[in-house]
Point group: C2
């Protein structure tokens, strides 16, 4: 599986010329074709080479998006939605060229319904912006994928992150959404009730569709009360196995842990070096509890007892905000700490997710694979969900090394699938993982293709993503 397997999309040169001309005439400065801007809109944190769009349209409203989609539909031109460009699997690349629709100017908070614990926002609002906006309400939006991504992008890739173990993923936290569909019409997928049995779940169909079925123009999200108390801490373990057994027991006990993050020995070494800390260089869990004062104290104590049973600890925790902030800053800097292990290299980041009973085995086999192939690749994981990231540091100029890294990723993805897991827990498929979907989902791919063809018969919506090449 290599880049050569990327799904090709034929260029419609004449259509692109017509659409670009019309967008320029209609929107002036809001349609840009300079190379720097086009390059920026194909750039991601990914190792996958950029494929530039022919122009970038800065949409300011749903009506703008509709106009662009109608034009692209009429002339059979690809349209690629863009949020903040923090996706990891080439989701914003334009393999057949076409128009990138930048949604960052659609960044209004439309409404906050505090009594209903929900809010309605435009897709360009980022998660940090939303939480800053909410600061005085006592409410917050929990999903935290690390990057300050746009919420439209997070919905499109079904993102999650550190506290999904407690609050769920984007799948669980979108009440309804609006989208411009491939035929240019707007759909509102649901109303604002917390639950509904009113027909097919169009909300969930668009979440995780990566812009291939429509462009999200508004989201209604669940909010949560900021916990009265938060406690957190760090706990070292003699082995990955001991750490994972502690996680399993913690969840089985019903301790409502808010975050439980594993970092392996190499990851801890990189964090110590980068953040000037002196943790032991053995597998480590970063943990956080949300609740009442006495609740979080009780949770922390119960967790400490479980860790002790499996040979971990001592578990040192704090409810002092500054100390917690320092701790989580170290965890959040894990990516940069990993980068510092090999200055100048690029990161290839994986995100397999397996049933938690297989997690220790999956991580241990993966560590052995890393060692056997001489790769530099720390591991961090949202282990409450069975999800972990390997950050493979590669020199993208060295073709042999890229191939070795890709082969490693292939083995990792197939290992996870073989353990009844998925090749992508939270980053999405994009271009990088479409080749693995058929191993993971078999005939499911055919039904995805049927749905895609029915809703987007001219394949204009982010073509070349998710669905692998059809083999006839």
């Amino acid at each position: 599986m290599g880049l050569a397997e990327l799904v090709g999309v034929e260029r419609n040169e004449s259509g692109i010329t017509v659409v670009a001309g019309k967008l320029a005439a209609r929107f002036g400065e809001r349609f840009q074709t300079g190379e720097a801007i086009r390059r920026q809109h194909a750039h991601t944190t990914s190792y996958i080479p950029s494929q530039l769009p022919d122009g970038v349209f800065f949409a300011a409203s749903e009506a703008d998006v509709q106009e662009a989609v109608e034009l692209c539909a009429m002339h059979r031109v690809p349209i690629v939605p863009f949020g903040t460009g923090t996706s990891l699997e080439g989701q914003v690349n334009a393999p057949g060229g076409g128009i990138s629709v930048d949604l960052s100017r659609m960044n209004r908070v439309v409404a906050v319904h505090a009594e209903d614990l929900d809010c309605t926002i435009e897709p360009g609002v980022t998660r940090e912006d939303l939480n800053a906006y909410l600061r005085d309400t006592g409410l917050f939006f929990p999903i935290d994928p690390g990057a300050n991504a746009s919420l439209g992008g997070m919905a499109s890739t079904r993102a999650s992150g550190t506290n999904a173990v407690r609050y769920g993923t984007m799948r669980d936290n979108v009440i309804s959404l609006r989208a411009v569909m491939p035929d240019g019409r707007v759909v509102q997928t649901a109303r604002r009730a917390r639950k509904s049995s009113a027909g097919y779940d169009l909300t969930r169909l668009l979440i995780g569709a990566e812009g291939t079925l429509g462009i999200i123009t508004e989201l209604t999200l669940k909010l949560y009360g900021i916990p009265q108390a938060i406690s957190g801490g760090v706990c070292q373990f003699p082995s990955i196995e001991a750490a994972c057994q502690t996680v399993i027991a913690t969840i089985q006990m019903g301790i409502p842990v808010a975050r439980i993050e594993l970092i392996n020995a190499l990851g801890m070494r990189s964090i110590n070096a980068y953040s000037k800390l002196d943790y032991g260089e053995s597998p480590c869990l970063f943990i956080e509890f949300h609740g009442s004062e006495s609740g979080v104290a009780e949770q922390a104590q119960s967790f400490g007892e479980i860790a002790d049973e499996f040979g971990g600890g001592p578990f040192q925790w704090t409810n002092v905000a500054e100390d917690r902030a320092k701790l989580w800053k170290a965890r959040h800097n894990a990516y940069w700490a990993g980068m510092a292990l090999r200055p100048g290299a690029s990161a290839l980041i994986t995100d397999v997710c397996v049933p938690i009973s297989r997690l220790a085995e999956c991580i241990t086999e993966t560590e052995n694979d890393i060692a056997a192939n001489g790769l530099i690749a720390p591991i961090v994981g949202h282990v409450g969900d069975g999800n972990f990231h390997v950050q493979v540091m590669i020199d993208t100029e060295d073709r042999g090394e890229v191939e070795r890294a890709e082969a490693f990723v292939g083995r990792l993805n197939m290992r996870a699938i073989g353990m009844d897991g998925t090749c992508t827990g939270e980053h999405g498929v994009g271009q990088g993982k479409s080749g693995y979907l058929v191993h993971e989902l078999g005939s499911g791919i055919d039904y995805m293709r049927t749905i895609k063809a029915a809703l987007d018969p001219h394949n204009i919506m982010n073509p070349g993503k998710i669905l692998p090449r059809a083999h006839s």
Copy 2:
């Protein structure tokens, strides 16, 4: 909106004859055409008149379901899945005749993965059977719609019930499923990882599709550890408004209430009479907390303080299992207590769901509507979700009364939709609510139709359900 609006399905007489003949020849006793059995398979708790299938096939395996679907597909004959027949909106009716596939013999628990907090089951397993099976594992499956429904049926109607406020609905608790699709092939929608970003969410597409896109043949469900402690109690309020404000404040405070059920004054009167109790006949909340010993005590105390602030209470709670069982038995018997208000009458049960900020207003307007129209109709609600049921007691022989009740339901559904809510929080659309979907979802219906036509081009899967008649 009346029964005359039901979506018609043309009978394919010759196809039905061929399929019935082949099923009888192939499966013998497992294919039944006697009227009693056919009647039983069209019977539901609904007021909607029965429409009998032409035969009932007792499937014992996924391969059986595949054979039946292939036959029905070849001869363009409707196929209607049947679990326990506890659906409320005519979901198991056969408006164009055809074959009812009874899945109750597919009742094996395939696997329990205690470490992963999940299990894999066949669709005919009922929720009570599953929990009995799990008894010694310390785990349980929480979704409780009242009836002892099959889990396949619960997934198909996106069911929920009393503790969705804490544990979510069927949408949130199915990790993956297998289904026989309209072309006769089997799909496995996902693997067993707790979360995934691997393409379109086929799991959620089939949940709530009421058998119109495929027949579910296996489910992998989330399980939970049985809470260490459970406390519960009853709290009276001077008004619906006071009760709803208490619910809002409780949820906003982040108190992880496991159940919070409202019963209105008439509901309380019926319960007192039926269960020989002496509660006050004013709006009442039944509440339950799950957690540690100290946790549930703290939650109960915090709730009591909130209720007091809004003029409710005193909140009397207990963690003695027998006392709680008595309390919840009274709540669970609310349906029968309502029936006893008018012996011999049938119940028409609604299930609108609105944003919780509109709940008091919605219930109060509905109580006024009930009074103005001289209906006998107690109200119970899963108010943590904004969902409530009106149980309209009607004499189905009295055409005028049925029409008055249907007109009332129409106003109620439109009232909920007008408050940004849904006409169905948990019972599904079936035949009874398809006429309201267009008001609720507008163009969403068109995309549902597109998906249905693409996946089931011959409209053999439970035809005449969910999607309203197309107006051209």
